[in-house]
């Protein structure tokens, strides 16, 4: 589903964020990507949704070589990948329901589809009763779940969650992880970026470890090794 081959990413002359990264993720897999702060995890996510382009190497997502993706094709790519961003990225001026609907509106989905999908994804994350609230009226965990709901509206084949539990306490973290596992059970490939030792150790799924921009570990049933 996701294939990276000898990918390098440099920001300017000095910062070499990813160094010769090669990895392959099969459909329906649940993979944790771990590593310390600043090792290039988010950079990898940005490459996968063409927010940044690689300095060298090739990137294939769902059979589509996006290494030199054309600008007008980028929206198409992003509608096929669900992303939960590290900094959540909800629109403060829109209600929960509108935030979720927004992702469908911008892609030109008909109203009927929006009114049927939005309550469904909010139900999956357990927020169907908070549809009329504004983001600031929600807890951190709830906001993260709204972002998760939004990432699901296109029924993506791949879901990427960049530290979705970064600022959450243990119960909220568990809830989010359980949701991700459920989504994975539906058949969605999940890439979870985290540096939460406990989460990774409890999952008992594949773990890819990044350090200083390089892949230093890839275990089938992994633990947090740093």
């Amino acid at each position: 589903m996701i294939n990276l081959k000898n990918v390098n990413k440099c920001y300017g002359q000095k910062i070499h964020a990813l160094k010769d990264v090669s990895l392959s993720i099969a459909p329906r897999e649940f993979v944790s990507l771990v590593g310390q702060s600043g090792t290039g995890k988010s950079t990898l996510v940005k490459l996968l949704i063409a927010e940044e382009s690689p300095t060298s190497g090739t990137i294939v997502v769902g059979g589509w070589d996006i290494t030199r993706i054309r600008r007008i094709e980028v929206p198409m790519l992003r509608r096929q990948i669900g992303v939960v961003f590290q900094d959540i990225k909800l629109l403060e001026r829109k209600k929960v329901g509108e935030n979720v609907a927004f992702a469908l509106q911008v892609s030109g989905a008909p109203r009927s589809r929006i009114t049927s999908i939005v309550p469904k994804v909010l139900k999956i994350v357990g927020l169907e009763d908070k549809i009329e609230r504004y983001p600031r009226q929600l807890s951190g965990g709830e906001q993260q779940r709204v972002a998760l709901a939004r990432s699901l509206v296109h029924l993506p084949k791949v879901l990427i969650a960049d530290e979705p539990t970064g600022h959450l306490d243990a119960p909220n973290t568990r809830e989010i992880i359980e949701l991700l596992l459920r989504i994975n059970d539906f058949g969605t490939t999940v890439l979870l970026v985290t540096h939460d030792r406990e989460v990774v150790n409890n999952l008992r799924k594949r773990v890819i470890t990044l350090d200083n921009g390089m892949v230093i570990g890839d275990q089938k049933v992994g633990t947090y090794i740093l």
Binding site: R71, I72, P75, M76, R78, F85, F102, V106, G108
Partner: protein, 305 residues
């Protein structure tokens, strides 16, 4: 799907209009000023043309025939004049009518009436009033008559040369029009800058939102369209407001126009009312093109989509 996108973008555009309302207001105001000044130029143009016409209509040559010329001879001259290509109209005032008119005009002046009586019989000859199709033909007409056998019937010809007046009027209206066009161009430039600035500020304040739109899969057009539609909304509002303002201005102006052209006046409001759809379409179209250009430039520079 395209239509859905359009209406959705329209919705976002409306939100944008109200979100930074004072900025929107300033933008519309400068557009109103611009459209209004365009309309003023049009009025100046109209009044200039009307003034010229009304002067041209008043030009004529009066041929005073000798007292002894009888009606038949006078009519002969009239029909001769009529068949000349350069004449618009040739009116004959027979000597009895001329006398009657003179008596009417001076009825209140006993001394004049006295001296008229002292002259005995009707002292007037018939008069031919000749209008040419174009002002520049008068000299030609006069020369033609003088060269013809009819010349001996004529006592005196009275041709006031209005060319100087006409020249003066064209000069003034031309100059007013140039000033008006200059001011309008200036306003157009200012409008362009203001629209550019407005869109830039809006892009800046929407940065985060635009970023999120892109990240959740919005296409270029979906991001751009609300800004274009926003510009078009400003243009519609501005043209409507400017025309409203303009018509009430024209209404106030009308009595002065009537005075100036005493009676032969043109109705400014009616003139522009008749052409309202065209006026609206052209002015909205112009403003729309202008905002689209300013928006495109602003987005080229500040929106990396």
């Amino acid at each position: 799907m395209w239509l859905v996108t359009f209406f959705r973008a329209g919705g976002f555009a409306l939100q944008n209009v109200f979100r930074n309302f004072s900025l929107s207001l300033v933008t519309v105001l400068i557009m109103v000023v611009t459209v209004f000044s365009v309309n003023i130029v049009l009025v100046l143009q109209l009044l200039g043309v009307t003034a010229l016409q009304s002067v041209q209509e008043r030009i004529d040559v009066s041929l005073y025939l000798k007292q002894e010329v009888d009606e038949q001879a006078a009519r002969g001259l009239q029909s001769y004049m009529r068949q000349l290509a350069q004449t618009e109209s040739v009116d004959l005032l027979l000597r009895d009518r001329v006398l009657a008119q003179f008596q009417d005009r001076h009825a209140e002046e006993p001394s004049v009436m006295q001296s008229l009586k002292a002259l005995g019989d009707n002292p007037f000859g018939s008069v031919l009033i000749v209008r040419a199709t174009e002002p520049q033909f008068y000299q030609l007409l006069i020369d033609t008559i003088n060269a013809s056998p009819y010349a001996q019937l004529i006592e005196k010809q009275d041709f006031e040369d209005h060319r100087q007046v006409i020249g003066k009027i064209s000069n003034v209206t031309d100059r007013l029009r140039h000033i008006g066009i200059g001011i309008t161009l200036l306003f157009l430039l200012i409008t362009m800058l203001i629209v550019f600035n407005t869109i830039w500020i809006k892009l800046y304040t929407h940065q985060e939102e635009i970023g999120i739109m892109k990240l959740v899969g919005a296409g270029n057009w979906f991001i751009r369209m609300p800004f274009f539609i926003e510009g078009l909304i400003y243009a519609v509002l501005a043209v409507a407001a400017a025309l409203g303002l303009f018509f009430s201005f024209a209404d106030t102006l009308q009595p002065y126009v009537n005075d100036f052209f005493d009676g032969t006046a043109i109705n400014v409001v009616a003139y522009f009312s008749e052409r309202l759809p065209l006026l609206f379409a052209v002015e909205f179209g112009g403003l729309a093109v202008l905002t689209l250009i300013a928006t495109t430039v602003a987005m080229r520079r500040y929106l990396k989509v």
